[in-house]
Amino acid sequence: MPNHPQQMDYVENRKRVILKKPELLAPAGNLEKLKIAILYGADAVYLGGQEYGLRSNADNFSLEEMREGVQFAKKHGAKIYVTTNIYAHNENIPGLEEYLKGIEDAGVTGIIVADPLIIETCKRVAPSLEIHLSTQQSLSNWKAVQFWKEEGLDRVVLAREMSAKEIREIKEKVDIEIETFIHGAMCIAYSGRCVLSNHMTARDSNRGGCSQSCRWDYFLYRSENGRDLPLFVEQDAPFSMSPKDLNLVRSIPKMIDLGIDSLKIEGRMKSIHYIATVVSVYRKVIDAYCADPDHFKIQPEWIYELSKCANRDTAPAFFEGVPGYKEQMFGTHSHKPSHEFAGMVLDYDEERGIVTLQQRNYFRPGDKVEFFGPDIEQFSMEIGKIWDEEGNEIDAARHPLQIVQFKTKIPVKRFNLMRKEI
């Protein structure tokens, strides 16, 4: 066991230099999101296959799509991890070996696992895969981390209930890759320890069936000698357990200093607009801090940028301390994001200054829009005339996935995204 924390930085020419840049890990709900996440700056993405993952409703990857994803990722120097983090029942055992072999064969880097059944089976039948312990294990102390290290795991994802201080202690005591969440929706329970949905909707939360029952409204009573006394009055918001979404953008420097190896964004069900926005902001934050830690300052536009795709309030729980009532939501739980995804650039005609764009949400001439992407300076403009594919002028881009053209004031590139204020 190392007694000295690993060194995270050194000083050269009186300037602090960061030794280890963490991996930025993003969700990939489907092949398109995978590509966007990587193009917008993710070092690695995680995705779910057809089975054994916790998002049984998402449009999960077939082995074929996984293979395609791997090829794309390789080309861009990125890695792919597959979530296989259910707590299996007996009936899930048959088929597991074949499934893991398929994943290994598809060329992914590793799997994210909670159940020792899957860990052991993977070691046996797909030994070239890295094994990362899922947050579903609610791993919250250094000795348990030590246990999983001795079991041969390559990386552990810590419980979301860990503070910065606790993570530091773990880093000091155990030499293993650490991954933590930085952004997105969270369970309010210890992960793996909630079966509300099993009871309320007969859906197994530990196999992907969670109905988010924690976010429903309840009414708090006290029973006293057989009488039920409400602990709220008429106007009070009902009792609920809806956490604000996690947002650790301001804590990134601290996380890098701690030597956390991988910073993970939640949201395999989120839109490509969300993925692109969140990934590009965190990319900028990480790069800026690592380039010059001494003069780093959080830019207000990064914070603003994140708010454009957020549909819930956010908070820095638990990294910055045990969350209280301000990190929860009562009454209304979500709001409309301030911007919506309007289209994706397919092509750009340099000579005529005309973009070919795939529509993702209604827009029309006169709308204020914003273009952003990994390879352009973000800019806003007003939409002028719009033409359809045949060159006919149209009064609005109404149809999902419709191909349209219009002028932009600045050149754009394929895979740039256009969002609209709402």
Binding site: N90, E120, K143, M162, Y218
Partner: protein, 309 residues
């Protein structure tokens, strides 16, 4: 036919002799510093006394160390494990692998029961923890009868199943009751928060009441109904399940003693004469229904319920 152990949860040392008389074979005790959702708090002296009482009658004491531990408690685990070893408890319950490592370090002969509650869901993983040192797996309550029996068929460790009482549905590290009151701008007295069993969440859509309480381990929400399968024990006994647990949290001593007596009767009856059990099981169930608190309907948990995902 093998008789399963009848395991109960006393809320104090005083109850132990009564429960022994009622027919209990083993007891789970402990303190919330290390154990989750216990029926009572047992100081070290009381654990010692419990062991004496139980061992005098040939019964067993298991101590709960099944918390989700953060770094601050890890060092204390050593001392507590050492203490349990010294006073000769019969087993320690764990969910967190930190406890397993602790036992290897200071009490390699301590018998360990793997009890992570919700995540003990398949036979392979039960055996995995067996290879790591556990002698017993305590199964998740969210399993069907068929799944439980299949696990037992493949198990290389003892299998414990809860057959009666309340179960936990949710544990958060956050102080959810306190947070709610703070949000409302009202200070709630600590007494209320800790008065286990008296606070509940009402769910109008399902007409359910979920007991909720806070302690140093966070916020816990419990099932709206009590499992009761006193009339369905045959298949589990035939399968050779090693231990039947009655969880008595938030119930009166009288209730727990009576329920223990009734299950004792049911188990003995089935083992001696399954025919007689068949004829009497309805009556046994009726007796429990008669003493069941109004706000705690009985059901059969997940034993016969289909869950999808």
């Amino acid at each position: 036919m093998k008789k399963p152990e009848l395991l109960v949860t006393p809320s104090s040392v005083e109850e132990i002799p009564w429960l022994i008389d009622a027919g209990a074979d083993a007891f789970v005790v402990g303190e919330m510093e290390y154990g989750l959702r216990l029926a009572g708090e047992f100081t070290r002296d009381q654990v010692k006394e419990s062991v004496r009482l139980a061992h005098d009658s040939g019964k067993k004491i298991y101590v709960a160390m099944n918390g989700i531990f953060h770094n601050e408690k890890v060092d204390n685990l050593l001392d507590y494990m050492q203490f349990l070893n010294e006073v000769n408890v019969d087993a320690a319950l764990f969910g967190d692998p930190a406890v397993l490592i602790t036992a290897r370090e200071v009490a390699p002969n301590m018998k360990l029961h793997w009890n992570p509650e919700t995540t003990a869901t398949n036979w392979y993983t039960c055996n995995y923890w067996g290879r790591k040192g556990a002698k017993r797996a305590v199964l998740a309550r969210e399993l069907s009868m068929d799944e439980v029996i299949e696990i037992k068929e493949h198990a290389e460790v003892e299998i414990e199943v809860q057959i009666h009482g309340m179960t936990c549905m949710f544990q958060s590290k956050r102080r959810l009751i306190g947070n709610y009151f703070e949000f409302l701008g009202r200070k709630m007295e600590v007494r209320e928060k800790q008065e286990g069993g008296s606070l509940y969440l009402f769910d109008p859509e399902r007409n359910n009441r979920y007991p909720i309480f806070e302690d140093q381990n966070g916020t816990h929400i419990m099932s709206p109904k009590d499992i009761c399968i006193i009339d369905e024990l045959g298949d589990l006994i035939d399968a050779g399940i090693d231990s039947f647990k009655i969880d008595g949290i938030f119930k009166s001593v009288e209730y727990n003693v009576t329920v223990t007596e009734l299950y004792r009767k049911a188990i003995d009856m089935y083992v001696n004469d399954p025919e007689q059990y068949e004829q009497n099981k309805e009556a046994l169930l009726k007796e429990i229904e008669n003493i069941q608190p109004k706000d705690r309907p009985l059901d059969t948990g997940f034993f016969f319920k289909e869950t999808v995902y």
